[in-house]
């Protein structure tokens, strides 16, 4: 019988995460903590010239929800453009997890999402700078 919170999807990702680890030369890296429970999620993206996420890797430690959510996130965003990431909402992220989270656990479930949004927001600038520098 599937658990209402720790269901197959969450536990599968917790036990065998998708792309846990680090990229050799990521386009961008960012880490966030959940100060209340000490969850940590680092996200690394490899972004192509077409502004598309080619690879996403996460690392960190924390509860099953925060780590599984980061894994599910990485799987979901690969192949998406930054424009699509901009349109990606917290509600949509929570839907991906397929379980209902209380307000407290939403902090865990959305930790990786917060990192992604931070990266996507700041990436434009650095990308432009890099482009200008090489021009």
């Amino acid at each position: 019988m599937s658990d209402e919170l720790y269901d197959e999807l969450i536990l599968d990702h917790y036990e065998s995460p998708y792309h846990r680890g680090e990229l050799e030369s990521p386009s961008c890296t960012h880490t966030e903590h959940n100060p209340l429970c000490g969850d940590r999620v680092q996200l690394q993206l490899q972004i192509g010239s077409d502004q598309r996420i080619e690879q996403a890797f996460f690392d960190g430690e924390g509860c099953a929800i925060s780590q599984a959510a980061a894994s599910i996130l990485c799987e979901h965003i690969e192949g998406k453009t930054l424009e699509e990431i901009e349109a990606f909402t917290a509600a949509a992220m929570l839907e991906l997890l397929k379980v209902r989270l209380t307000a407290v656990r939403q902090r865990c479930g959305l930790l990786g999402f917060k990192v992604l949004k931070t990266l996507a927001y700041s990436y434009d600038g650095s990308h432009d700078e890099a482009a200008e520098a090489s021009a």
Binding site: Y6, Y14, E15, C37, D39, R40, C63, A64, I65, R105
Partner: protein, 438 residues
């Protein structure tokens, strides 16, 4: 407006009969242990899904006995008024009830004078009061404050702030490997430059009960004052501020079965008298001119603004309740619970209990399970009705010292019993099963 100032029409023969009737409050010396639990209505109420509550979070806040709940309701429904010299009937009743609480708190902790008991909002405010009113004008570069890594943020951050404001430095008593203060190494950090030692009576995570007597002796020998954070220790063990001679003692009402919003700072009178005010405003003044003011006597000097009247009165009832059971009995109940919990949790493979052996600690068991993250543990224990806390429990430096980011903490009080431990242990196994790591 003038109406409130008019002389109230009180019959001279009027006899007050306040329900909380304080000083004469009947104690419950012959209580049978089995009935303690039934004094706490919340413990008899199942959770929304019908599961019985197993409350193991008393270190965070204790549940309230019916007498405390009744006291609040009684105050608000039969004699509530603001405190401080309302001449009408309720004003007088409230003042008498408040002073009754002050006297009972003073008696409980062995204070010489009731005015050495200052009502605050809680431990945090009590400690901030000392840091500000004692520290700011007294400390300067070269002075030292002595704390340690096991302190709650409330007994650490105010001293960090005081040090940064005054140029004083903060030093730390080293901890032993099992999480006790290493008094063998006290000479390394306690010097003639030490002005104050701030120390918890009992760690809110490790449960460590600190040797306050020996610390006081050593601190006073070098001329340093001692502030004891009694938030965890005062509800669980008798304390007497005369022996050892504690300079400041802070604790909270809500952890000693009283209401939230009220706490106590005890300070030795000669210290409090020399200290500056903390908060300024109503009640704390003697005379106010347009450009300057003089301060009221103790305790009013440190009680600016409206007090939590009903809560402070109910705190007196909580003190009566605790003393009615008696600290000997409380100690007996809680030590038995601690021994059992510690034993049964230590039998579970891959569960690590943090802190010293039971003879050095109070009834708090903080643990990590190598298989289940504390947050998941608390979540899954919740389903079994178990209320525990997961996280750093406002002790980030201590968790850094332990090398973990979070722990699960089960804390016990006089209303817990062995059944609670059974459910906790079963719950840990259940959590492992759900997370497929049993």
């Amino acid at each position: 407006m003038a109406r409130t100032m008019r002389r109230p029409r009180l019959r001279p023969e009027f006899q007050f009969r306040f329900p909380v009737s304080s000083c004469l409050f009947e104690t419950r010396g012959q209580r049978v242990v089995g009935t303690i639990r039934s004094d706490f209505p919340i413990l008899g109420r199942p959770l929304s899904d019908g599961t019985p509550l197993v409350y193991l979070d008393s270190a965070s806040s204790a549940q309230k006995p019916q007498v405390v709940i009744d006291s609040l309701s009684e105050c608000y429904s039969t004699y509530y008024a603001n405190s401080h010299r309302g001449v009408y009937q309720f004003g007088v009743q409230v003042d008498e009830a408040l002073e009754g609480t002050r006297a009972r708190v003073a008696a409980m902790i062995g204070a010489d004078h009731p005015e050495e008991v200052i009502f605050t909002s809680g431990t945090t405010m009590s400690i901030n009061l000392v840091a500000s009113a004692w520290g700011r004008s007294r400390l300067s570069s070269g002075d030292e404050l002595l704390v340690n890594e096991m302190e709650h943020h409330a007994n650490l951050v105010p001293w960090q702030q005081l040090a940064s404001e005054t140029g004083a430095s903060l030093r730390h008593i080293p901890l032993t490997d099992d999480g006790r203060l290493d008094l063998e190494r006290l000479d390394e950090c306690l010097t003639s430059r030490t002005r104050l030692v701030a120390v918890t009576g009992m760690s809110n995570v490790l449960g460590t009960v600190n040797p306050i007597g020996r610390l006081v002796e050593r601190a006073h020998a070098v001329g340093a004052l001692v502030l004891v954070d009694g938030a965890q220790s005062v509800p669980h063990a008798a304390i007497n501020v005369q022996e050892p001679r504690i300079d400041f003692l802070a604790f909270s009402g809500h952890k000693i079965y009283g209401p939230t919003g009220v706490g106590v700072l005890y300070g030795r009178r000669e210290l409090l008298e020399k200290m500056d005010p903390f908060l300024c405003g109503g009640n704390m003044i003697s005379e106010v001119g347009l450009t300057e003011s003089s301060w009221a006597e103790l305790p009013a000097k440190f009680e600016a603004g409206t007090l939590p009247v009903a809560q402070a009165i109910a705190l007196g009832v909580a003190v009566d309740y605790v003393q009615g059971i008696g600290f000997d009995e409380i100690g007996r109940i809680e030590t038995a619970l601690l021994r059992e919990a510690q034993q049964r949790l230590s039998e579970i493979p891959d569960v690590l209990i943090h802190g010293p052996a039971v003879e050095h600690k109070g009834a708090i068991v903080s643990f990590t399970d190598e298989r289940v993250h504390p947050h998941d543990m608390a979540e899954l224990l919740k389903r079994k009705g178990v209320a525990v806390r997961a996280g750093h429990h406002c002790t980030m430096p201590l968790h850094a010292w332990m090398g973990v980011v979070a722990t699960t903490r089960a804390s016990f009080a006089l209303y817990n019993d062995s059944t609670d431990i059974d459910v906790l242990v079963d719950g840990i196994q259940y959590a492992r099963k759900v997370l497929r790591c049993d």
